[in-house]
Symmetry: C2
Subunit: 412 residues, 2 copies
């Protein structure tokens, strides 16, 4: 059986992890940060040195291809890829593995002269982690970007997407031009670490993804009144933070009671203003993220949370505004791609199990324009979005070889 | 009756409010910030132009005096003053009024050649608001500074006191040298806005302060585990923010049930880490401030909160560390100073009422080394530590004249 070069893949994973690598381990390489832009330059050079054609589109997505120089319905392509941005203090594999394994597969195919009827390409999608808007690049590529919102898109620390992209040499207002003609894409398959404990606990090396959760993010802004924290009687205070705190605690209870087996939610961003010990908080902004593989469950959760916010705000005499930030619908993976992965596993003698992805992925956008699917490999301890995120070397090698043979099947 | 010049006082209040003045009103002039240091320079020049001797001590306290050039037991002084630092987005009167009214009284006395047996001085105390440690300057002056802690003192945004003072030209490690010989101070009286609603609601122009609340601040640090906010099952999460949120909500209930009529508490500083929508918060740090005029109540509250933190942390499978940041004991105002204020009010035909201060003040440190007291004037709507903090012009003028005649009585 043909096989990828694990030492080359491992070397590239190590090099990429150096862009934004942290002294204590892990990586901070957020979309359009200086480290991210350096990594983009390195990736383009690696793709070119591997014998691929390279280009960058209007949404800052990076491509390397063999058999085409751009996307065209005349030459439908089998596409793989993932992303090279990370969350702050993230790990070295989330996203990076899918891009570099894709590059490794294409280089193996080119160098060994393996037969493939359709051209092949590997993508690094922009801002998968949603510093400005989750799955930004693949959303633009699949024509799902709401370009009217671009002017308002900003990171949770307040930086505008328009400014960040301008610094990197892109005009954000033109990101919609990255939209591809769906006829130019024959299929999409993405390799990724599971980021959860199920494969490891089942002792199975490969996961065949059946569906990807939908994710909604809202910004809840509780607005009370700044007052002196000594002289204002307790019962007259209109404390924006206390309202937000009660909301977070009760929202957690709602997920437990009404979210079903697969829904989850998180309050990860909290800003208290003015943020001083002796002033009653005037306001608190939080970002509430909710996920479910079932669209109805997701809708029900979002409505419960909004009603909760209004109840808590009323009781604590503050105002509240709940603003949608982003929303993705749950996505189903295409049976032909699932079959190609399953067949590749069988050919390699690797057990596989079907599961859903509890994380959002660029594949869900690609699923709206082509047959899309995902290959998961086990995450040690299920850990991800952490500096100690890792997968075993042999798990990575097995996954990359499954990707190689899946691509060859899809391109045959 | 001799009287201060209200137009001169008002002009100075307006000028000082310009240092760190905000476009929408209010003032941000935190201790040792650039705006604060500019204001210090301006204040020293105003004091000198008013005919006062001026100096700055090792804790960066600013003094203007008539009859002495430094503090000495040979010439005990009647001291007034307050502070020129503000909270972020604070008002133009908190602290500034006491300093500038004191300066106005001394200038009136000097220019009119009014009789006073004892010398007089006005102080601007450093960092009353506690950017680094509440009442820092008056604490050092009265010998209550724990100099062993100087190296660790830092603002809630992480700046070290040592660095901030070095930038302003001071050696923080020498701040203890500001300690005065108590025999050098005959009495201390401070004029301040009430910062609460009681005088306004009672329709009384002058408050004679009987006691000042003690204030404790603790930093509670809830440490859980960063995890992927999609793939980590809800029941396995160790969410530092959710623990902190539950703590804040329940601590509010404890104050209501067990704090008595006068205790208050506030969670004004909240930092969530890493602060990203799709990562379960690894930790949350908050600053919890509690106040009471009764030492036993304060101690009981602090113990209840610490026990609560441990209970919540245990239930949510996180660690918690509760660290004292600062503590002041409740202080009693000296009867002779209260009598001088009451007599001055009677002479001016102004009704007065006795009350306690729900805010901490430099006077509580001075109370440990001399006879100390405070004059309150009404705050419109009881508002303070807000950009719309204000007092009526005639309330300010009446208060400054009460201060003038109180100083003349204490120095007679």
């Amino acid at each position: 059986m043909n096989a990828i070069s694990f030492s080359r893949l491992e070397q590239r994973l190590r090099t990429l992890a150096g862009f934004g690598g942290l002294p204590g381990g892990g990586v901070t390489r957020q979309a359009f940060s200086a480290r991210h832009e350096e990594a983009r330059g390195w990736l383009l050079a690696e793709m070119a040195s591997a014998g691929l054609e390279t280009w960058v589109d209007a949404a800052a997505n990076v491509f390397g291809a063999t058999g085409i120089r751009h996307f065209s319905p005349d030459r439908p392509v089998v596409l793989t890829g993932s992303h090279i941005d990370t969350v702050p203090e993230g790990g070295p594999l989330d996203g990076a593995l899918g891009v570099l394994a894709g590059l490794e597969c294409l280089q193996t195919i080119v160098e060994a002269g393996l037969t493939h009827r359709l051209p092949l390409a590997v993508a690094a999608w922009t801002d998968e982690e949603g510093r400005f808007g989750s799955l930004f690049g693949s959303r633009a590529f699949s024509g799902r970007l709401d370009t009217a919102r671009i002017a308002d898109m900003a990171s949770s620390d307040g930086e505008r997407l328009v400014d960040a992209m301008a610094r990197a040499g892109f005009d954000a207002f033109r990101a919609g031009e990255a939209k591809v003609d769906p006829a130019a894409i024959s299929a999409y398959v993405e390799m990724h670490i599971e980021q959860g404990p199920r494969l490891e606990e089942a002792g199975v090396p490969i996961g065949v993804v059946e569906a990807i959760v939908g994710i909604r993010r809202v910004r809840a802004r509780f607005v009370g009144q700044a007052d002196h924290a000594g002289t204002t009687p307790m019962e007259r205070r209109r404390d924006g933070f206390l309202a937000a705190a009660e909301y977070a605690v009760k929202a957690r209870e709602i997920v437990g009671k009404h979210g079903g087996a697969h829904a989850v939610a998180n309050v990860g961003v909290v800003h208290v203003h003015p943020g001083v010990a002796n002033i009653v908080p005037a306001r608190c902004e939080l970002v509430h993220e909710m996920r479910a593989p079932d669209a109805d469950v997701l809708e029900r959760l979002a409505k419960s949370f909004a009603a909760l916010a209004r109840r808590v705000a009323k009781r604590r005499a503050v105002e509240v505004e709940v603003q949608p930030m982003s929303a993705t619908a749950p996505a189903v993976c295409a049976p032909p791609v699932q079959a190609a992965i399953t067949d590749a596993c069988a050919a390699l003698g690797l057990p596989a199990m079907r599961l859903h992805s509890a994380a959002g992925h660029d594949a869900q956008n690609l699923a709206s324009i082509t047959d899309a699917g995902m290959i998961f490999i086990p995450s040690v301890g299920g850990r991800s979005h952490r500096i100690d995120e890792t997968s075993a070397p042999d798990a990575i090698e097995r996954g990359a070889n499954v990707l190689l043979h899946t691509l060859l099947r899809l391109a045959a």
